[in-house]
Symmetry: C2
Subunit: 200 residues, 2 copies
């Protein structure tokens, strides 16, 4: 039976299946789509994958993905070098960049403390953050980890590590998401919104 | 702002976005996953994509995906050459092979008649099917197009094309799916099951 499927096809189905959120059905659907699509589609994806690994690296300063080291943010003379936003992932950095309102630098941790997944503080780029602060010039560290258990634990750990370094440590505000509906907001978020209420 | 994303990253996000069912969010999630994952993951996917296009082709007899021409099914001496199952896609062929009960040959149409998508009979491998039948040896043609409007239209068209060829033309049975629940079966399927009822 399986000999009806040529090896290059099964190999690609297997390779797709290893991506997160891609099951065997999606993997074979994508593979058969590419078989019928113009060659250029599969070949440009192939090339982009190879280039991703060959041309990018992590910024030695902030840990962001970059072609040149240090990265475009770290080497931009217009950025405010006294503020550092600490994020879990490069995608979080991009989310903050999209607000077009943060002019400081970043520090990418490469994850969050997660005992369940066996990720401890030593697996994150916390030592590098401490060294950046020790090197001087940083006035405020904005902890922008995700608003959840793992992000909270990571924030608490970093606060403890930095508390005697003489830097201001802040965290992103919790509260109601803009455009959200009170009726549908979960009670933890609503509790945080109450606790963090501000005068009008 | 966008300069915070290196070009190889945006290129891969774009390449992923061109796959069916992959939106920009999924594309960037996959890209950033691959950035952090071992190099082998992205590189083996890159290689598999290249090999898919370099090593596979369509069987000149049945139109299935294959490395060698004719394909493994067409060149298997144990297959019954008097029966041909007509399917829309190679994946449909695999579905029938999985039943391990069909011993005939196949004919892959490469789609179904779909005026909305601008696909007419001439875009399908119907001429090739007629020529296979004219060449002799085929006794029964089992039309195994999908049970929907486009598959039905395609089946009707093929039946008309083949009606004076002296071959038996059959179609897959319609009815209740095994394991299904009568309560949840759509009424068209239930109607077909009633019409096709058999004596116990």
């Amino acid at each position: 039976m399986s000999k009806a499927i040529p090896e290059p096809v099964t190999k690609l189905i297997e390779a797709f299946s290893r991506l997160p959120g891609v099951g065997p059905k999606t993997a074979s659907r994508l593979t058969y789509f590419l078989l019928r699509a113009p060659d250029e589609l599969a070949l440009s994806l192939s090339e982009a994958l190879r280039e991703l690994k060959e041309k990018t690296r992590f910024c030695s300063v902030c840990g962001n993905i970059t072609v040149d080291d240090p990265c475009a943010v770290c080497s931009d003379p217009r950025r405010d070098r006294s503020m550092v936003a600490v994020v879990e992932e490069p995608l979080d950095l991009l989310a903050i960049e999209r607000t077009a309102s943060f002019t400081g630098l970043y520090h990418v941790l490469n994850g969050a403390i997660s005992p369940i997944n066996g990720i401890g503080p030593d697996d994150l780029r916390i030592g590098e953050l401490v060294r950046r602060i020790d090197a001087g010039g940083i006035v405020e560290v904005i902890i922008a980890t995700n608003p959840g258990q793992e992000g909270d634990a990571t924030a608490m750990y970093i606060r403890r590590e930095l508390q005697h370094k003489g830097v201001k440590i802040t965290r992103l505000a919790r509260g109601l998401p803009v455009g959200g509906d009170l009726e549908y907001v979960d009670s933890v978020t609503l509790l945080r919104a109450l606790q963090g209420r501000s005068e009008l």
